[in-house]
């Protein structure tokens, strides 16, 4: 177990601008965590700090398992725009398994299982780069699935997809949840936050303004900023 993840006064600034202000946060196993916030609130940077792609400029980000390598192998991240290698869909999953040090004999089985899970087994031998945007994002999820991560980070995974592709992605995310993987997802899509989230962390200008169960957050946002965000995002409500 690498959870819980603890951010202790973790901050990040770049070019003299503070993007994440010294924040302390514990992410434990259990409920799906949705990081909500407007564009520029620092969601992506926070995700990258947690996943270890960025080093905090102050404070620390620590998994309960102090071994960096082991912690890295228990997590996966799916980005807003998937990056696929110029090889088949299946080879992309195999590449991830190889990088994670999975034994050769086990790789093929796990790759096919993951592709079946996201409904891409019939396209396994297609070049990954010719797949549609939605298919590529499902392939990114398959690549994460094959790794059997304890924690899955999702950074706006459907922001550039159409509604039907978005539904497919959300189905796979629910399957991850059902399999016991801890989901940490950044989004600015309120509908998606409600559908997939158990708790909301509301980020505003690099600060955590609220952390609450989804229902509470949407019914009674505690901060005026969150209330305005919910209203602004749902003008018809």
């Amino acid at each position: 177990m690498i959870l819980p993840l603890n951010l202790r006064q973790a901050a990040f600034s770049a070019g003299g601008r503070e993007i994440i202000a010294a924040l302390s946060l514990e992410i434990g196993a259990g409920p799906n965590t949705v990081i909500l916030g407007a564009n520029g609130a620092g969601k992506s940077v926070l995700m990258r700090l947690m996943h270890g792609l960025l080093e905090p400029t102050a404070g620390e980000v620590a998994w309960s398992d102090g071994d960096q390598r082991r912690a890295r192998r228990q997590q996966a991240m799916v980005f807003q725009r998937p990056v696929m290698l110029r090889r088949s869909a299946r080879a992309n999953v195999l590449f991830a398994l190889q990088a994670a040090g999975v034994a050769t004999a086990e790789r093929e089985h796990r790759a096919d299982e993951a592709l079946r899970e996201v409904g891409l087994l019939h396209l396994a031998h297609r070049p990954a780069r010719v797949l549609s945007g939605g298919e590529q994002q499902r392939l990114a999820l398959a690549r994460a699935w094959a790794l059997h991560p304890e924690v899955l980070f999702l950074d706006e995974p459907t922001a550039s997809l159409d509604p039907s592709a978005t539904r497919e992605i959300e189905t796979v995310i629910k399957a991850f949840d059902a399999s016991g993987t801890k989901i940490v997802m950044a989004t600015h899509n309120l509908g998606q936050a409600r559908r997939l989230g158990d708790e909301v962390i509301y980020l505003h200008q690099g600060r955590v303004l609220e952390r609450a169960p989804v229902e509470t957050f949407f019914k009674q946002p505690a901060s005026p900023e969150a209330a305005a965000f919910i209203k602004g995002e749902l003008p018809w409500a």
Partner: protein, 234 residues
């Protein structure tokens, strides 16, 4: 004009009836340049990729130096290799001077910066796109560099072809370290230089036509392979 037309027709006749001796010259040219391209590719691609993904102090300076070295004058490379390989030089005991081996070494040094510098730029552009994904998967350093080289291999064909063009076209380096010895180190470009100075323009021009045709054929073949492979893997 009269003279040029005559020389051209005569050169084409010579090409059509290319004798064995000329074929040897063409064969040696290809053997030397292709060997140099192979060596420069094996060394230059990893070097360029490592420069692209690596971070170390003085990296920008190395990149600037490498880019500048693309403009190395062949005669200077020839001179340096000559000094290294001459009997009194540090590598004189190898006895390589005035052999095809020396020519391969000189051309490899000449085109290594071209292959490495063009590869560095291509891999660096790709790294910007792939970096987060690869690091997320735990792929960094040398494995990342090799993954990128393989993934953008079609773009890197251009870097290798630039090296090939340079190797086939240069005369200064092979002239100095090879010595243009008939039957041993005489290649197309040195023959063209020699025949021109002797006044045998049709032969010089004929060899020029052969040289251009070969380079064109190699580029066309590379393009066919590239396009068909690209269609397969997307």
């Amino acid at each position: 004009m009269q003279g040029f037309t005559y020389d051209l027709l005569e050169s084409l006749r010579l090409v059509a009836t290319l004798d064995l001796r000329l074929w040897e010259i063409v064969g040696l040219s290809l053997a030397v340049s292709l060997s140099a391209v192979a060596a420069a590719t094996l060394l230059g691609l990893p070097l360029g990729a490592a420069l692209a993904v690596g971070g170390f102090p003085g990296r920008r300076a190395v990149i600037v130096a490498l880019n500048a070295l693309m403009g190395l004058p062949p005669v200077v490379v020839g001179l340096v290799v000559y000094l290294l390989l001459s009997r009194a030089g540090p590598l004189g005991s190898l006895g390589l001077l005035f052999t095809p081996g020396a020519m391969v070494i000189a051309q490899t040094l000449l085109i290594l910066p071209i292959v490495a510098a063009l590869c560095r730029q291509a891999v660096e552009d790709a790294w910007r796109e792939y970096e987060e994904q690869l690091r997320s998967l735990g792929v960094e350093g040398l494995p990342a560099a090799l993954t990128l080289i393989w993934d953008i291999r079609f773009s890197l064909v251009t870097a290798v072809l630039a090296g090939l063009g340079r190797a086939c076209a240069e005369v200064g380096a092979v002239m100095i370290v090879g010595g243009n010895i008939d039957g041993v180190t005489r290649v197309m470009t040195t023959t063209i230089a020699l025949e021109t100075s002797k006044g045998d323009l049709p032969l010089a021009l004929g060899l020029g036509v052969v040289l251009i045709a070969i380079v064109l054929a190699l580029n066309a073949a590379a393009d066919v392979v590239k396009v068909s492979a690209q269609r397969r893997v997307g």
